[in-house]
Amino acid sequence: MIHQYKSNGYYIVLDVNSGAVHVVDELCYDVIACLSGQNEEHTEETLKESAVFELLKEQLGGRYIEDELKEALEEVTELTKAGRLFTPDCYECLLEDVKKRKTVVKALCLHIAHDCNLACRYCFAEEGEYHGRRALMSFEVGKKALDFLIRNSGNRRNLEVDFFGGEPLMNWQVVKDLVAYGREQEKIHDKHFRFTVTTNGVLLNDEVQDFINREMDNVVLSLDGRRKVNDRMRPFRNGAGSYDLIVPKFQKLADSRNQERYYVRGTFTRENLDFSEDILHFADLGFKQMSMEPVVGEESDIYAIREGDLPVIMEEYDKLAKIMIEREKSGKGFHFFHFMIDLEGGPCAAKRLSGCGSGTEYLAVTPWGDLYPCHQFVGQEEFLMGNVDEGIIKPEIADEFRSCNVYTKEKCRNCFAKFYCSGGCMANAYHFHGTIHDAFDIGCEMQRKRVECAIMIKAALS
């Protein structure tokens, strides 16, 4: 499968099955388009057939001279021979192994507090309550969760635990006690815990910051961007804005971590479709690591992103990509999570085929110890998988998640971005289509655009 596109003056060709990325000239771009239109499964041998060159002459002879076409065809043939163009799909044969793979639990999202001190309008957790009651996780439940993780992690050494909410700092003592317990247990069981925390920053202070810097591998700081954008969506319960209180604390925390191992993470909605301004606002505030996610909401929500918004969103991503290149070249670069792509050392095929791991390798734990496939399924009883006392009592739910991959989803199978998103968010698919074996179409459009922009940035900075 070949995907080719023009972006910011670059002619880019992605050989999907090998992952090879080529920046080509217009001639070669046209030649590859013509060849893949003729036969998507060209090989070194078929490219040498005389009919192929005849076709190029017929279709492109008016624009290019014969010698040019011949030269471009030779380079295409060389790339194909080297396994970097027209690479056949060798992954389908792996699928049975992927489906039957023995998985271990390697990550937990601990819902340390189903309560929040903000009242964000778009909160999928319903201001922390997750379709249920306000609750804080006790140390005892958290301890059992860590024991469950260790017990079910097999030979896997690195274990991830995210303190999530609601707002986890509202149950801070339990976070600290669980980290201490984890550090004690990792020595006994030869494991290594990578703790992370996601916070809105309201309760952030020096003591919390020092602890986070000492113990947390990553910290996600929730902020939506410009003051008016943030305060419209992320007010306190009394309606007051949160920006002025939070921003100085986040700036201090980011600096205290040497601008590493954190993300300022925002959510954009229909009410700030010019979200590139919010990302640039983060950069202007001095942040170097940032993420900006499209909101997840009901179609009826006024802030929800609709299909008709996509053209504007695409332009925003293009605009952001160009500005990021300029800033990088002028020494003022920053990282935007969705434009980060590792073309050389990225994940292996097995990882790309197995997806995000929800329901199998990654589980969410409620304050009272129930297990769900991920934080976004919490409170949906049909996805209740078990609890920290009894473990997994509905293995069929894990089996369903394990069987879901880019080849079982019709929309993914023929998508060029399938090895970059690995099928996307299963919670979003369920939310919009009632099944995890589908894809959230608007999210897919955005994801494809982000992959294209990420590759273009690599081309521009190469």
Binding site: V23, T87, R194, H338, L343, G346, C348, K351, S422
Partner: protein, 47 residues
């Protein structure tokens, strides 16, 4: 090559033979929590 500049040397299909070690980060734990992005992660073996 005169008409092509290739940006990467590794190929995804070569990683098939080795299989996955499973030590890499779980994608949702990183920054997003509402979408799935795998392609930007780093292989634990190549760190």
């Amino acid at each position: 090559m005169k008409h092509v500049k290739t940006l990467n040397t590794q190929t995804l299909n070569n990683t098939v033979k080795k299989g996955g070690c499973g030590e890499c980060q779980t994608s949702c734990q990183s920054a997003c929590k509402t979408s799935c992005t795998v392609g930007n992660q780093t292989c634990e073996q190549k760190k």
